[in-house]
Amino acid sequence: MTTAPLLLITRDPSHPMAQLAFRFAKAYLESHTNQKNDNEEGGSQENSNPNKLAVFFYGDGAQTANRLRWQSADVTDITKLWQSLVEEYHLELPVCVSTALSRGISDSDNSRRHELLGDNLAAGFSLVGLGELATMMNDRRLLQF
């Protein structure tokens, strides 16, 4: 089995590349569903499993994890699209904690630690250290969007 790619998403959610990243991930997961089912007993759901598609939100890509980002009804809500992949494929959505905090995106733990009022991390996303990305690489092909 080939090693699954790691998608490094660094663009703002409004950028065409951010939309492309989602379409790539969805198509990849759909095309590998049968393989996943075949290997389900021995397969790991962890992001470090090189056979599983992994994504990492970094830089402006962290804006994707902001649940308070309002958009008009005629604009695709890419946050919800990524959340649908969590439900359907158990995809993990790690976000670099440093880049998220510097853009005003925080979870309850970090809000408490940094004395911020409230939290706004969208469901399904998690804030992790940058070292997590290095661990996830694990000889994977890294694709930047």
């Binding site: 940058l130 290095a134 890294l142």
Partner: protein, 107 residues
Amino acid sequence: MSILIKLRTPTELASYEGCALAMTLATFGQPVQLYLDAAVFNILMNPKSRLFGMMQSLDLYDMPKAWLPADVFSGWVLGMLPQDLAAQLTLEPEVINGNDFSQILTF
């Protein structure tokens, strides 16, 4: 195979985040080559920027000297920077073999 990380967005935050990623990957044993585009020179020359401080410690991360575009402007910048920082920078090679890099990331 090495990863080439290009810094070309002229904001303090973007240049910091690109450099932070390079240093983190280097910490985990990943060979990384930094390339600083002319667009970030104003940040590089600002002693208060994080990029200025981080570039001074490239050798602590066993990272090679960062590349600058091979032109007159880069030569001028090298002459204007403090010696310890300029020592961490060099002009890009005349010939770059794309096969030497497994990935090229841009910030």
